[in-house]
Amino acid sequence: MSEAELPGAVGRNGTDPNEVVSAEEAVLRRIEAFRRKTPRMRDDFINSAHGAGGKASAALVDGVFLQAFANDALVPLTDGATLTLASGERLAFSTDSSVVNPLRFPGGSIGHLAVHGTVNDVAMMGAVPSWVSAAFILEDGFPVAELRAIVADMAEAAANAGVTIVTGDTKVVSKGAADGLYIATAGVGVIPADIHLDARSVRPGDRVLVSGTIGDHGVAVMLARGELGIEADIESDTAPLGGLVQDLLRAAPNTRWLRDPTRGGVATVCNELARDAELAVILDEADLPIRAAVNGACEILGIDPLYVANEGKLVAVVAPEEADAALAALRAHPLGSDAALIGEIRDDPPGMVVINTGFGGNRVVDMLAGDPLPRIC
């Protein structure tokens, strides 16, 4: 057993290894040490949890992809890679694939998602998204009229996002092999010289903002599948976030970190933030903007909206002195009218997300284990 695995040795902020702690505290420390280990890929077969964005996904990425591909641009495992050119200019490069079922849902279609997913990942790196590629995997027998409609959605989404689709690829697979169609996109944008977003620049006291109501997309798609027998007026929030990011960065130039809480929701990105910053993220449940219909559907389904996907929202960590300006800038933008301050960065407990419940207690918000949701992006 290495020193780091000894129960008492894993201190918080350099705790004395000989310190006498309660039995519960010792167990908690042992668990935290265990959790910080790189997750191991133990499964012999892929299952849906590997695609859910939680711990199993992390184990797959670390245990299979990273092992084979590891390099300086990939290792940070953010929304995309930062590539520095010989001129010193930095490019943000990201890729995304869309396999949503159904192909069309209230508020958008797979075409909108394919463009927004990629441009938002590029935007979260502080870059201005400019160019996008699109690869189509089509099923034998897929109606061309439906393809035209989806492609028109992509063209509309690209125009709204200010990007051009500059290259592509097409493959046709046998019927039943691709749920109709799958779309894979990649995007590139230039990061302005003065922008440096990084979880490691996050400091205790920084504030956590979300740009609007959470869980809309995931719940809209789940209900659109029609299997749950619940009807509600909920639309996907799918939208390009480049403009919102630029407004935010102008108002709060010391913004530390941005993320779009897609698969795995706000809870998952906050956990990644806590882990990468080695700090605590404290959220306030009462301040989370959630539509009543989304909250109601989640309550019925036994799902926590914190884990439900969004396709047009961002979570930002900003310097405390710029929090007012950041919130005002978000609210002034049409995509950020429901923006809210939802939390604060603290020292303790490091690497964890804690939520203060509306009822007056609190709990840990962990990474998702398993896959509680249907495929939604």
Binding site: L28, F34, K55, L341, G360
Partner: protein, 378 residues
Amino acid sequence: MKFVDEYRDPAAARRAVEEITAISAGEHRKFMEVCGGHTHTIYKHGIENVLPANIELVHGPGCPVCVIPMGRVDDAIALAEEPGVIFTSFGDMMRVPGSNGNLLEAKSRGADVRMVYSPLDALRIAMANPERQVVFFAIGFETTAPSTAVTLIKARAAGVTNFSVFSNHVTIVPPLKAILESPDLRLDGFIGPGHVSTVIGNRPYRFVPAQYGKPLVTSGFEPLDILQGIVMLLRQLRDGRCEVENQYTRAVRDEGNVRALEVLAEVFELRPHFEWRGLGFISHSGLKLSPAFADWDAELRYSVPGIRVADPKACQCGEVLKGVIKPWECKVFGTACTPETPIGTCMVSSEGACAAYYNYGRFTREAAAQARIPVRSA
């Protein structure tokens, strides 16, 4: 949210906690919440951390997923791997480990396993796929058994023959007795199960005060319900009373739901004994399909292995289910046994004490108090 927020009001919660602090007067009190739904609420809303330290909550056996023994999961996987079968299950059961993997893994290997939210969904799948056999993995206490019963009555009425049920329904009173007989447990009272009681009523619990001298208060599932249940238990102890009381009056009647009980009696009969995870065999604690519904009984339609599989040695689910140890006192808690790689059932279900503690409560009272310092406004 309308109709829910009022049961989560922080000001009312503070008043209830003040009352609990005042009545209990520092005396150590240990109450068991029987139902997994309560355990989930307690952790999800952080109730333990707002209670005074002298009030200890012990998590009971009322989590339907947690009590399913490994052998029954193996049987389920064998059914799922029968050629031509569509095997339907609640999502929670998909990740429960048998002796050779879980249903999700069987699905990855090619079995047609589908998640449903209700047995009626399983029946609908059967009616839409008349050329396939559809088996429903029925689990749960008297709470979910009536919906299985109604589904079977509908299947019979509609003449659906390609549908069958693998019944793992159990009843709440026998394990409660087993816990009360357990010598290593000292409890001051029970927070009685809410949903089960909407069906069976409050009368079946009368033996708890009568024979064992412990008060029981049937409680609802919102945070304030549970605090109110604790207040009512403490008042009984203070006043020297010992009885069954009902906090959940908006849903539970003394006589229960007569129609649901009739349906249960029509469709099910008691097994002589049924194995409970960690608790062993308990007589008259499980439900099987009655002879009138034998044609829809998956255990008769297919040959299931039916082999009893011992729990993994390291796993202490039994002690956790009986409330003898706290989840974190289990030897494998949080290291070998985690929600991603559960060894025991208590780590699988969101109602399981171990999963609830691991996911929501994994920090000390002091850390919780620190975190509750309000987030500063922008």
